[in-house]
């Protein structure tokens, strides 16, 4: 896995009137990985993606995509030669047939791979002569994926790719992402479907209210994050977790429940010294990490 960054943003901000959709976002996405971009509805995911692709302009801040500044029109056009984008609604020109939209898109990319095109046409069973407007959402997603993958992009960006799809289509989509990443494409996709992200992603970036609240690898979550519950025979002593790698703490009667993000063993040892009579440590799911991250952000704003 490479440490090269394909996406870097510096204090990226997008305002719509008084609403700050993206706030001083400092995002880094590594090459040859699948990175999930998680956030609630309206967290700023789509606004960020649109700025990365030059569809909208940042209010302030800047960014670099595939080594080129995203706010320079010529440079952005050059990087778009190597980027494929699948939008949330997967709309292409409704008046064209599947064959026409493929030929249209192919004409812009010199390194279009006809073998990939033919393979995906067969795999997705796309009806060549059918008009795009007559395709189901699942078929439109497959067509969008074909258009994205046949150009052999360095970076594939998808905005809520599984939105509105049935389970079979979601499965095919996720498989396509895994295959693309295995072929060397960096995949960056936004979602609020945590289970999907957990299944395919190597890394996650969690955004809430326009701010990046967590950026980590799934491996680190599996290895280091622990949900730990301490039981005490009496009222628990006051414990200062300042400086500890603790994402959340809840005291409930004689119990302290916490999410440790690192060094769970050291924290367990410390609380045992303080009189904890029972300890239960369990792995943490991405869902719990996500909820803790966005709750922390919400609490900070209260």
């Amino acid at each position: 896995m490479s440490n090269r960054w394909v996406i870097e943003t510096y204090d990226l901000t997008k305002r719509y009137g008084k609403l700050e959709a993206v706030r001083k976002l400092n995002l880094r996405v590594g090459a040859s990985r699948i990175t999930g971009f998680l956030g609630r509805n309206g967290a700023g995911k789509s606004s960020t993606i649109k700025m990365l692709l030059g569809i909208s302009r940042p209010s302030s801040g800047s960014g670099v995509v595939l080594g080129r500044p995203m706010d320079n029109a010529q440079q952005s056009r050059e990087s778009r030669r190597h980027i494929a984008y699948v939008a949330e609604d997967k709309q292409t020109y409704a008046y064209m047939t599947v064959g026409q939209i493929i030929a249209f898109t192919r004409s812009f990319y010199g390194d279009w791979d006809l073998n990939i095109e033919q393979r995906l046409l067969r795999q997705f069973a796309l009806p060549f002569p059918r008009k795009v407007k007559a395709l189901s959402k699942g078929m439109r997603t497959k067509l969008a994926l074909l258009l994205a993958l046949a150009r052999r992009p360095e970076l594939l960006i998808l905005d809520e790719p599984s939105e509105g799809l049935d389970p079979v289509s979601i499965e095919e989509l996720l498989q396509a992402l895994i295959t693309a990443a295995a072929d060397g494409t960096t995949v960056f996709f936004s979602s609020h479907q945590i289970a999907e992200v957990e299944r395919v992603a190597d890394h996650v970036c969690i955004i809430d209210r326009g701010r990046l609240v967590l950026e980590t690898s799934l491996d680190r979550i599996r290895q280091d994050y622990r949900h730990v519950t301490f039981g005490f025979s009496t009222e628990p002593p006051p414990v200062d977790f300042t400086g500890e790698s603790v994402a959340s703490v809840r005291i409930d009667g004689r119990q302290i429940a916490m999410m440790a993000t690192r060094n769970a063993d050291a924290i367990i040892a410390r609380l045992q010294r303080l009189g904890a009579t029972s300890v239960e440590a369990a792995p943490v799911s991405l869902r719990e990490v996500f909820l803790a991250a966005v709750k922390e952000e919400s609490d900070a704003l209260v």
Binding site: K50, L53, G54, I55, S56, R57, A73, Q74, R77, E78, R80, R81, I83, A84, Y85, A87, D89, Q91, T92, Y93, A94, Y95, M96, A103, F104, T105, S107, F108, Y109
Partner: protein, 247 residues
Amino acid sequence: MLWYKAWRESRMRFLLSAAVLTFLCMSLVYGARAHFPPPERPDLPYSAWVWANIYGNLNPTLFVILAMVLGLGGLQRERPVGTAAFTLTLPITRIRLIIVRAVMGLLQVAVLSLVPAMLIPTLSPFIAGQSYPETQSLQFALLFMTWGSVAFTVGFLWSSLFGGEFTGTALCVITPVVYRILVQSTSAFQRFPAANYANFMSGMPYIQSPVKVLIVGPLPWTTFVVLAGIATGFIAIAARITKYQDF
């Protein structure tokens, strides 16, 4: 392939406009077979009949509206349809998108202005038993093409600001009517006859015989250049607006 896209997106409006103009020309020549010359004006020249039915009266306004409607579409229209993101992530600049669509539209305006020039001189002898000079048709076509191009670019400019399906169409109907009233009621415009598109397109400043209603004398080439400059200016404004727009 951008040309193909521009053609497909404007094709229906272009073909409908061509059908409207063809219908007008066919009505004229078939009407001439039955009703020309009118009993009350047995000495009326056929050229005056053609002018009254095609190049004069309200037809310049109709042509201006058709040209403006051709200017609609583009990225603002793609936004509610959901294809703007697909278009904007292609490896092309917004300026190139604008130029291709503008050139396609201007070519369509040129073709539309040639519809009467092709049909009337060709069909009149066969259907109405009358003749109409081709040179006259081509001169009127040039007048229609020039102001039609300006009208197209105004529609083009509106389309860079408004994406709604009905907003753009409504503006294309309202703008020529309001503009015509403004020009006719403002004394400052009287010094520039070409500012009045209806006068200009119907050839009024260049017609010397009110009976034959034929264009005499040199065409207003300087005015053509000025109007072409205005049309280019509108496209440049639309391009600048589009360049900095968020989608």
